[in-house]
């Protein structure tokens, strides 16, 4: 097995071009487990830890450009204001040790339906900046997840960063696990309010072959909020609306029974999480409005 240690981004891209089947390592919290279990025996590993750009972030006016390898701990410590949904999701990942190493780039690379960053990214919206020796492209997060543990990367591409809009309104993330910490989600849910576009975005985790949005639920709530003029009035949300939103989120999932939980439970829990997180974010939005006024 080759072990490649590029020290610049260009070297990394060259290595990936030369060894398309090589497995990149960021924090290694997924890769090393796979190697330990002997699930993979890649011909080469590309250690990305010496590539500086991957470990930094930049803040434009309204977008955070988050380097692929920035660990969850730093997101929690430095980016909670701008990326509240992702930060909440980061809090629930593994343990302190895992959060010190694990990264959003790695979560995207692994593209597990249970990865905790995905519902938050779907809910905030964003684009994944990927590159190869052939050039750079931006993949909208909605187009990134293709199948179980499959993403939209070409075999010579690497993830450089994720561009995530700074939150303009409340976001939430909710996860149910099989114990209180150090667990893969039974199911999870992310939500973000986007008053500037009059939309609410969602992300469902661990209840379908890929992370996915609940588009019917999003359209329903957008229409409800618009029809009643609630974005402007910051009026109260009817309980029945939140209830219906929850049901539509549950319908958007296609869960299975597995050792972590039954499909029926997942649907039920998703409807609960969706209803509750919608209510929380909306109430927070209303309070923030009053405070500002």
């Amino acid at each position: 097995m080759e072990f490649l240690r590029p020290s610049t981004w260009d070297e990394a891209l060259a290595a990936k071009a030369e060894y398309p089947s090589a497995v990149p390592i960021a924090g290694g919290t997924d890769v090393m487990v796979e190697l330990n279990f002997d699930r993979h025996r890649p011909e080469a590993l590309i250690d990305l830890n010496r590539v500086p750009e991957l470990h930094t972030w930049e803040i434009d006016d309204d977008v955070v450009r988050l380097g692929a390898s920035v660990p969850y701990t730093r997101i929690i410590d430095h980016l909670t204001d701008r990326l509240p949904g992702l930060s909440l999701a980061a809090h629930t990942v593994g343990s302190p040790q895992i959060r010190n190493r694990g990264s959003v780039g790695g979560n995207l690379g692994a593209a597990s339906p249970a990865g905790d960053a995905h519902p938050a990214l779907l809910a905030s919206g964003g684009r994944v900046e990927v590159a190869s020796v052939r050039g750079t492209r931006m993949i909208p997060i909605d187009d990134f997840y293709l199948g179980v543990k499959r993403n939209a990367l070409e075999e010579d591409e690497l993830i450089l960063a994720v561009h995530i809009p700074s939150a303009t309104a409340p976001q939430q993330f909710s996860k149910i696990g099989t114990r209180n910490a150090m667990v893969i989600a039974v199911c999870s849910f992310g939500i973000g309010l986007h008053p500037e576009t009059g939309t609410v975005r969602t992300g469902i985790g661990s209840a379908a072959p890929t992370p996915r949005r609940a588009t019917d639920a999003e359209e329903f709530i957008a229409a409800e909020l618009a029809d009643a003029g609630l974005w402007a009035s910051r009026g109260e949300l009817a309980a029945s609306t939140a209830q219906r939103f929850g049901e539509l989120v549950a319908q958007a999932a296609s869960p299975i029974d597995d050792v972590r939980g039954s499909a029926a439970y997942r649907r039920h829990a998703l409807s609960v999480m969706a209803r509750r997180t919608l209510t929380w974010t909306w109430n927070e939005y209303r309070t923030a409005g009053r405070a500002a006024a």
Binding site: V33, A181, V259, H268, V272
Partner: protein, 743 residues
């Protein structure tokens, strides 16, 4: 000065070594010339190995040898059915081509480095003639068979009142009945220290470093399997990073490692992985139980029927004896029926995992008692007090000491049990449903025969106590040091405890919660013998100021000898003066009390508060109160840790743990610590642990019974009962996961 050394919270003596990394475990050792072993495990659940292609492995860098059924290491089969054997299974590895379970050892690769050995193992190609395994416990239940007598009693035991024809008749006559079917999956002890072994041969024979609960039995077993004189095999096990029964028996890997080291003329180390641990080193068998209780309207039990079927590996040897260890004696009832069967499975070998029998049995019985209390609309504590047994049913003998009633009452008071709502699902705080539950705990007071200890008084003024037991985090070192320090009147720091070595005075090891009762009483006796020996030396040695005195006139107290005419010397001074490096003596534990006169158990009562999310059914434990009646507590600090650890085990049983065996292949699907869930800190609530103090001098002079397993007994039932109280939902299939509570 030292009277209070016992009982008070003394920190464990090896604590600093453990937290600084100075403590050396077997896997930490690197003798020079070391080679590394890596196991090759079967990938089918049953069948025969027809060929092993080792060519690629042997050609791989660093590989020294590939052992397999076709290139075996000789092991002597006589050990398999011997009384002396602590072999954990009923066959020896590589001696035949049979595959008895998935993950069975079918090869050992030895190489210069660990990585080379692992690589070599991956290159070994094993060809099987596979047959379908019997690996579906539920499907095997109808074929369950009698296991033979249990604890000297029939496997189907009826204790019926005169004139009552059967337990069914007694149940039919009872106005109120409750119970159900209770099930739980197989479990694994999963200690964090991996099972590791390092074998070093020299002229004196074999030194085997092995994390084990039982150094001396391991040495005898290894010697017999290797065809060695027992005097030529020494097992060292200075530190053991958790065992829980998983390191009680001698498994196959130390035998192969020792044989390989001998064959290759080099030390060999084999550390098994967490994944391998699930099939190589013993588990708790799955259990299926039915309990039916019949009571009169006032809650007096009329009939207790408890039938259990446990899995039993075709590789042996152990199965959970759920009914005989619980319903057999816990409550006074005129009619008791307990029965045990075993369903044979092509599963990895099993072991005595913490509270074997009592763990599943107490979950079933104490859940059923809660169900009965609900039917009677009676407080569960009151129900237990109404059925309190003071003599063993069917035998009429009393307990050596039993204060379980005090545990109930004190526990209820400490916990605030009177705030419990009798009606389930009726207490809510915001989105959370609140529930209270309780259960009883009882575990036999065991004491091994022939346990020996040695105490040496040294010229430097220090003392040393030794015995071939183990400290797997239990606090045994600290207990031995404290017990001897108290007897000798010395500060604890001056008494070193040495254990974990098979050549030390005779000891079966650390299991069955018998450590303190057995080894501490032996140590205390040895300390007294050492003092007598000191006095003898003092009066006999010509250079001694006590020379020529009658031993009766020489008094030992607080580290000093005194005699007539103001004679006075600290023992260290005396020994230095007469130029003797030390005096020592051995003595043994007193024989356990005659079972015809007393039954011996440790007791406890658990009370627990849970929160269940009203919408998602997520469970949070809020607090636990456990009141423990275990005789005299030698060191409250380490004792508390033992109970807390037992409770954490119970939390695992109730909410998380279970090995998932695939019926078709016999493979354990979740053989790793990511998917085999054990409680993490965030799952563990505040524990309020209170010890009663009623020294059990009918049991031993010292008055101490065991505590290592007690915390595990009943704690899962307390949780399940609290979940019922919170939600009105009775889950009888463990672990209680969110979807069972919800669905």
């Amino acid at each position: 000065m030292t009277a209070e050394i016992l009982g008070r919270g003394r920190a464990r003596v090896e604590g600093p070594a453990k937290v600084t990394g100075a403590a050396k475990y077997a896997a930490d050792l690197h003798p020079s010339g070391l080679a590394y072993g890596y196991l090759v495990l079967a990938t089918v659940g049953r069948g025969t190995v027809t060929a092993v292609d080792a060519e690629a492995a042997l050609a791989s860098p660093g590989v020294l040898a590939v052992y397999s059924p076709f290139n075996p290491l000789k092991l002597y089969g006589g050990i398999v059915h011997s009384d002396q054997s602590f072999l954990g299974q009923n066959w020896l590895p590589l001696q035949d081509a049979e595959v008895r379970h998935h993950g069975q050892i079918v090869g050992l690769v030895v190489a210069d480095t660990f990585e080379q050995a692992r690589r070599g193992a991956a290159l070994v190609r094993v060809v099987y003639d596979a047959r379908p395994p019997v690996a579906d416990f539920a499907a095997a239940l109808p074929n369950a068979v009698s296991p033979g007598p249990i604890n000297g009693e029939p496997d189907v035991l009826d204790l019926l009142a005169p004139g009552v024809p059967s337990i069914e008749a007694a149940l039919a006559a009872a106005p109120v009945r409750a119970g159900g079917t209770y099930t739980q999956p197989p479990k694994n002890p999963v200690p964090l220290e991996p099972h590791a072994t390092v074998a070093v041969w020299d002229q004196a024979g074999l030194t085997l470093h092995l994390g084990t609960q039982a150094a001396m039995p391991s040495a005898l077993t290894v010697a017999a399997a290797l065809g060695q004189d027992p005097a030529r095999v020494r097992v060292l096990s200075e530190h053991v990073g958790g065992g829980f029964g998983g390191k009680l028996y001698t498994w196959a890997h130390p035998l192969l490692t020792a044989a390989a080291a001998q064959a290759l003329g080099r030390p060999v180390k084999t550390v098994i992985t967490h994944e391998q641990m699930f099939s190589v080193t013993g588990n708790r068998t799955p259990v299926h139980q039915t309990v039916e209780l019949g009571a009169s309207a006032d809650g007096a039990l009329q009939a207790v029927k408890h039938e259990a079927v446990s899995g039993l590996s075709t590789s042996g040897l152990i199965f959970e004896q759920a009914a005989h260890t619980t319903s057999r004696y816990l409550y006074k009832a005129p009619n008791i029926h307990v029965a045990q069967k075993v369903a044979m499975l092509d599963a990895p070998p099993s072991t005595w995992m913490r509270a074997p029998g009592e763990e599943p049995g107490s979950f079933a019985l104490e859940s059923a008692m809660d169900e009965l209390a609900a039917k009677l609309n009676l407080d569960p504590v009151e129900l237990r007090l109404r059925n309190y047994s003071t003599v063993v049913p069917g035998r009429g003998v009393p307990w050596s000491s039993k204060h379980l009633d005090e545990c109930y009452r004190l526990g209820a008071a400490r916990f605030g049990w009177n705030r419990r709502a009798q009606r389930p699902g009726s207490v809510r705080e915001g989105d959370w449903l609140i529930g209270y539950g309780m259960a009883s705990a009882a575990y036999p007071g065991n004491q091994f025969p022939y346990t020996m200890a040695k105490v040496r008084l040294r010229a430097d003024g220090g003392a040393e106590v030794s015995s071939a037991t183990a400290d797997l985090g239990t606090g045994m070192r600290t207990v031995l040091s404290s017990v001897v320090a108290e007897r000798l009147g010395l500060p604890g720091e001056r008494v070193a405890a040495v254990l974990g070595d098979s050549v030390l005075p005779m000891n079966y090891g650390a299991f069955a919660s018998a450590g303190t009762a057995s080894t501490a009483t032996a140590a205390r006796a040895a300390a007294s013998a050492a003092v007598a020996q000191l006095v003898q030396v003092a009066v006999q040695n010509a250079a001694s100021p006590f020379h020529g005195l009658d031993p009766k006139d020489v008094v030992y107290a607080e580290g000093r000898l005194t005699g007539p005419g103001g004679l006075d010397a600290a023992f260290g001074e005396l020994l230095t003066r007469i130029d003797v490096s030390g005096v020592e003596a051995q003595d043994g534990s007193a024989p356990p009390p005659d079972a015809r006169n007393f039954a011996v158990h440790s007791f406890g009562a658990h009370f627990c508060e849970v929160r269940v999310h009203a919408w998602t059914s997520e469970v949070r434990l809020r607090r636990f109160t456990s009141v423990i009646d275990a005789g005299r507590i030698v060191n409250e600090r380490t004792a508390r840790s033992q109970i807390a650890g037992g409770l954490v085990f119970g939390i695992g049983q109730a909410l998380f743990e279970g090995s998932v065996m695939e019926p078709a292949s016999g493979r354990t699907a979740n053989a790793n610590l990511a998917e085999y869930l054990i409680p993490v800190n965030a799952d563990v609530p505040v524990f309020d642990i209170q010890f009663l103090s009623h020294p059990d001098t009918n049991f031993n002079e010292f008055g101490a019974r065991g505590i290592g397993e007690l915390g595990t007994v009943g704690s899962a039932a307390a949780i399940a009962n609290a979940l019922f109280n919170a939600t009105g939902r009775r889950v009888r299939d463990l672990p209680v996961t969110v979807d069972k509570l919800f669905g």
